[in-house]
């Protein structure tokens, strides 16, 4: 088992929601917890926390990613764990009728979702793995995907991005163990986070809850605990762990 005390753990999108919960649980394990996120009031508030290292980094911008990873390695000497958690939920059908006409999935939204949910993890992992190799750290890469990766109606971009991330998980699980790095993914179902309530309309959400055998949304603490357990478990590699209250069985 990997002892997290003193290990440098980097969580993207760690300033809110699931990412912040993962950070809190890593802190409980006495890990050095580092956040990459973009400017927001919540982000600014976290900068006052003495127990966190918070870096401003838009993970869709490879140059920023490279510079920020460099700053982390300079500051802390190494990176042991990377959690690719940044993600935006976006729902739109490919084609829909409404407002008196035919509406097509916006391509710029497609680009935005792919870039935030998929390309970001590619940039982050590339540079983090490089840092792990130079410092010869045995590392762990975690990708936060979603059960939508199975293909959710109305979520072309999101499902594709998350499926892409699951594919990367498997690729890296095969490529990276020679360097002492393993990789796995956690695919949450619907969680009780602000972003869920903002992105999913309340009736759809209530319908979804009815379809969950456990009849409730997941808690971020439950998902985060699962992520941390996976990070600690040295035999976990290449798998996508779904945690969704039994929504997809």
């Amino acid at each position: 088992m990997l002892a997290l005390k003193g290990k440098v753990c980097l969580v993207t999108g760690g300033a809110s929601g699931l990412g912040l919960e993962i950070i809190e649980q890593l802190l409980r394990e006495e890990a050095v917890s580092v956040i990459f996120d973009i400017e927001s009031e919540g982000f600014r508030a976290l900068q006052n926390r003495p127990d966190l290292a918070v870096f401003k980094c838009d993970v869709t911008d490879e140059e920023q990613v490279a510079n920020s990873i460099k700053a982390v390695t300079e500051q802390f000497g190494q990176i042991d764990v990377l959690v690719n958690n940044v993600g935006i939920l976006y729902s739109a059908p490919l084609i829909s009728f409404g407002g008196g006409g035919l509406k097509l999935h916006d391509s710029s939204e497609w680009q935005r979702v792919i870039s935030t949910n998929l390309s970001s993890a590619f940039y982050m992992t590339k540079h983090a793995v490089q840092a792990m190799l130079t410092r010869r750290t045995k590392g762990v890469i975690v990708n936060i995907t979603s059960i939508s990766a199975r293909g959710n109606a109305g979520q072309s971009a999101y499902s594709a991005a998350k499926a892409g991330l699951e594919a990367l998980t498997k690729v890296w699980a095969k490529e990276l163990p020679v360097f002492g790095i393993r990789c796995f993914a956690v695919a949450p179902g619907f969680c009780d986070t602000e972003s869920t309530h903002v992105a999913v309309n309340e009736t759809i959400l209530q319908d979804t809850i009815k379809r969950v055998p456990l009849k409730r949304l997941g808690k971020t603490a439950e998902i985060a605990a699962f992520v941390v357990a996976g990070i600690k478990n040295d035999y976990l590699n290449g798998k996508v762990l779904e945690i969704d209250g039994g929504l997809v069985i």
Partner: protein
């Protein structure tokens, strides 16, 4: 130091120090350096400006600006003119600032950049302190000041320090020249402050820990090295400068040291000239402190200090020893009260409790301040007669801290609070002030704010019941306009209903234990 002169106010005391140390460095800031004689001359000019502008002994001057040498000159000038100063966070929300100004009616507001503070000049006399036309004739200034110093007594108020208040209005703890003179002498003796000392000033001047930095250094002939907010956040640069400036004494809240630890900025070679690390304002989780202690205690002494703003910010100093880490749970004890302080542990009726029982700590003696500025009501609640006699007027301050004296080891330990005041990053905050601010937000139906410690790190959690959909960031934005940054909750939890207790009041205790329970089990 006093040359047998009767130095009964801070201005005279400073002049005496400055005359003996005229060529020594008084202040360091970035690339700037000021000797005692320069600081004396420049603060004479500032004092003369105050006097010639018609400010009288006891008038209030509010200073709002970032930390720099000019701010130090303003403070010393005010002391020499017998004008009471109060420093404000330039980033503090304007409505809160104006509410305070309205209450305390300053004779002059000095700020660094009028635009950023935009104080209404029809209501207050405002000046940009970086652009003041100060009287230039040094001999005249010195003469004006030395004549004026005679009219400042030890009972003149030196400064007013504002802290959060439960009604949503901050309280201005008012301290006299005598209070501060006592602090200075105590500090010189307790820490054996001698030649060549350089004090760090990492605390902002609007924060009460800065009182120690400023007075222990400039009134003992030592150097003060100023670090502004930006410098403090850049941990590596900060440590480099501290070594370059050959700082010998560090004082901060534990949070700041924990941040340096978190950033892995400290190693066995850090703080190369430091003799002592003093921390206070909040508890230092022993589990974190021991790491620092193990790293540096062979050449640096560690002190845990405690004290309320109303009593010059320090009333006890406890030297940390290795056997304090026999167990790593919780926080250090406070140790004994400093000499010239009396302390009693009392119950709600202000009766002294039997030794070994917990109760509220009352502080008495000549370091107890004058109460809250222009606020008789709250002064009367917090400042009470010495519980041991009624022979004459002898005021004691109710700290609100619930403490326990252990007769076996003769140590006092903090057990909690008698009210809803908390310490967050060393700042005193009344949770009700945050609740008041939240209630001003249109979409908030009801709210309860709690404080807890997770792994020893302080967190403010706001439970909010919304009337209409609003995003957390939106709420944070509105709060930013109402509260200083350190009062904005660390976490928001949006709930459908808020737990009440049997009396129909918000059940903070229950909310807190549910919240912590979730954290631990989740």
């Amino acid at each position: 130091m006093s040359n047998n002169q009767y130095l009964f106010n801070l201005g005279s005391r400073f002049k005496s120090v400055a005359s003996q140390k005229s060529d020594s460095v008084a202040v360091l800031f970035e690339e700037q350096k000021l000797t005692y004689s320069e600081l004396d001359r420049q603060s004479d000019a500032m004092a003369t400006y105050f006097i010639q502008s018609g400010l009288k002994v006891g008038d209030l001057v509010c200073i709002s600006g970032t930390k720099n040498i000019t701010a130090v000159i303003c403070i010393l000038g005010a002391l020499k003119a017998g004008v009471t100063y109060s420093v404000f966070d330039p980033e503090s929300p304007q409505p809160r600032l104006l509410k305070i100004f309205d209450r305390c009616n300053p004779a002059l507001v000095l700020c660094e950049n009028q635009l950023t503070v935009s104080i209404p000049s029809d209501k207050f006399k405002v000046a940009d302190y970086t652009k003041l036309q100060l009287p230039a004739n040094e001999d005249d200034n010195a003469a004006v000041v030395s004549n004026h110093l005679k009219s400042i007594t030890a009972a003149t108020a030196a400064y007013v320090m504002f802290t959060s208040g439960s009604t949503g209005f901050p309280k201005g703890a008012t301290m006299t020249h005598q209070n501060v003179l006592n602090l200075i002498d105590w500090s010189i003796q307790t820490y054996g402050i001698g030649a060549g000392e350089v004090f760090t000033s990492v605390n902002p001047f609007f924060f009460d820990n800065s009182v120690f930095d400023l007075y222990s250094s400039l009134f003992s002939g030592s150097t003060i090295a100023l670090f502004d907010g930006q410098a403090v956040r850049d941990s590596r640069k900060l440590l480099r400068l501290i070594d370059e400036f050959k700082c010998t004494s560090w004082f901060s809240v534990p949070s700041m040291l924990i941040y340096l630890q978190t950033m892995r900025a400290l190693n066995a070679d850090s703080f190369s000239s430091l003799k002592r690390i003093i921390f206070g304002g909040e508890g230092y989780p022993k589990a974190r402190l021991v790491e620092l202690f193990d790293l540096l205690s062979h050449r640096i002494s560690f002190y845990n200090v405690y004290g309320p703003t109303e009593c010059t910010c320090i009333c006890s100093s406890y030297k940390v020893e290795s056997n304090d880490f026999a167990d790593l749970k919780g926080f250090l004890p406070l140790g004994k009260l400093a000499p010239n302080f009396s302390g009693w542990i009392v119950d709600e009726a202000l009766q002294i409790v039997p030794d070994g029982q917990q109760g509220e700590l009352l502080l008495g003696g000549p370091n107890v301040g004058m109460g809250y500025y222009r606020d008789h009501e709250r002064t009367n609640l917090a400042f009470v007669q010495n519980p041991t006699h009624s022979a004459y007027r002898d005021m004691a301050y109710r700290t609100g801290d619930v403490v326990l004296h252990n007769p076996d080891d003769d140590k006092i330990r903090i057990m909690g609070r008698a009210d809803n005041q908390i310490k967050h990053m060393g700042y005193r905050i009344e949770l009700e002030e945050i609740e008041n601010a939240l209630s001003c937000i249109e979409s908030v139906a009801q709210t309860a704010v709690i404080h807890c410690e997770l792994r020893g790190i302080s967190q403010i959690v706001a439970f909010v019941k919304l009337k209409s959909d609003t995003e957390e960031d939106e709420i944070r934005k509105v709060l930013k306009g109402l509260l200083p940054a350190y009062m904005i909750p660390t976490k928001f939890s949006f709930v459908q209903y808020l737990q009440k207790n049997a009396n129909g009041k918000l059940d903070r205790k229950q909310l807190k234990s549910d919240y912590l329970g979730q954290r631990v089990n989740g």
